[in-house]
Symmetry: C2
């Protein structure tokens, strides 16, 4: 396979743009085909079967765009659907869970790691299981923070209400004396300043978006499918509300998002 | 058509259960076939085209259960899809917007009415347009309250954070001196005590769930399709997470929700 084909990135909505942003920063020549499942967002409270069905449809769509690798830029889908999608495809498929977990395991000194995420990600136990298997000496404390996504989407990134809710969610983890905290939802990096303020400067925050882009870069190099020349502009597809998505995307990406297309994902 | 067939009620998720509850109270003999679109919830921020597609699929499903009338127990779908669904079906289709709007127009003394709801409902302008047409002497002030649904779903019904957020959302409406406030989202009756506390005792809250059940009762009587005998137990269907739905339903309905079935709504 030639390296001069795009990378597929998908998420339940806009959150995965924090991962796309890291890929653009670390691999500026590559082209991204982004899909946000805005008609069916959020994934956080849906069942494993549903998330697998949705992820399969999206992978099929991305393959029609000739992608050379797929990044599952959504913690819920990485937790619930990654293994299935990997088995069904021949191209590399990279999730956000493993890179974040490995970095946390390397960063912790006390061996006590906190994980925060949506209900589905936390209930799936995916971070805990992965870390238990990989580094059995590490203790993992997980906490679902269901209000963080709506607070981010309401734009309350530095607000007193967000601080108050963060204190309630994170107090429990602080009680466990964690020294490393994984931001296990792609929306959370957008409130990392509030989270850092609440947990204090001694806790290391791990941003899986950054680590995932690093992993992708390594995989492309190993498989020798990095692009050899500057690729065309990134392309953005959603299952609903292309205009609204475009305006949000333009606030968090440094490239110009000129066009966003609505597609009927249920047809795939 | 015989009256001894069920009534279809649908919503994007659990919110419409507040409407189902009122129907059960006011028409205890009737049987309800409830559908909650939990795989694609929330509808509040999705486009008109998407909401029409979803509503059409659900109406098709309900018709396979032989329903004699359909209640669109969702403000967003009532705002965006009701007219289309009505045109396409021969049975009565009742939304929650009109009954709530009429009641508010009758209740107001100052002629100044507030409407709160999801972004989609408010942006659709459906309440405002309807009231402008029907009672041009009434002034309508609308405000989207996107955090109310996640706060309700997090169980923070009487919490200080909910009070704080309610104050921010409702201060603007109080500035307009409204004397009547329509709870334009089916989740909001569950925080009506907090809302009443914030707006004060002189503002009349209108609960469209109650008014919709009254309208349904009148329509069934006019068309002579009320049931003549005690019907079988209500039935509940969802597009995802049947067990989770069942436990929530059991907290807000007085009947026993014994069984809830997952169906694949995209097939309809």
């Amino acid at each position: 396979m030639s390296g001069n084909t795009p990378i597929g990135v998908f998420d339940s909505g806009v959150g995965g743009l924090t991962v796309a942003r890291e890929i653009m920063r670390q691999m500026p020549k590559e082209q991204i085909i982004y899909f946000g499942d805005t008609a069916r967002v959020p994934y956080g409270s849906k069942s494993k079967e549903t998330i697998i069905t949705f992820s399969r449809q999206i992978a099929k769509f991305l393959l029609t765009r000739n992608v050379k690798a797929i990044v599952v830029a959504c913690n819920t889908a990485s937790a619930l659907a990654l293994e299935t999608i990997k088995e069904e495809l021949t191209i590399p498929v990279i999730g956000v869970v493993k890179p974040g977990a490995i970095t946390a395991a390397k960063a912790t000194k006390s061996g006590r790691i906190g994980i925060i995420g949506t209900e589905s990600t936390i209930n799936s136990g995916v971070y805990t299981q992965y870390l238990d298997k990989m580094c059995p000496h590490v203790q993992v404390f997980a906490k679902a923070c269901p209000l963080f996504v709506p607070l981010v989407e309401e734009g309350l990134l530095y607000d007193s209400v967000t601080v108050e809710i963060a204190e309630r969610y994170l107090n429990e983890l602080q009680g466990y004396d964690v020294d490393t905290l994984v931001l296990g939802c792609t929306h959370y990096p957008l409130i990392r300043h509030t989270i850092q303020k609440v947990v204090g400067p001694d806790v290391t925050l791990v941003n899986p978006a950054f680590e995932t882009a690093k992993t992708l870069k390594r995989v492309l190099r190993e498989k020798e499918i990095e692009c050899s020349e500057q690729m065309p502009n990134h392309k953005f597809f959603v299952s609903d509300g292309a205009e609204k998505f475009k305006s949000f995307a333009n606030t968090i990406l440094s490239c110009d998002v000129e066009e966003t297309k609505d597609i009927n994902i249920e047809q795939y």
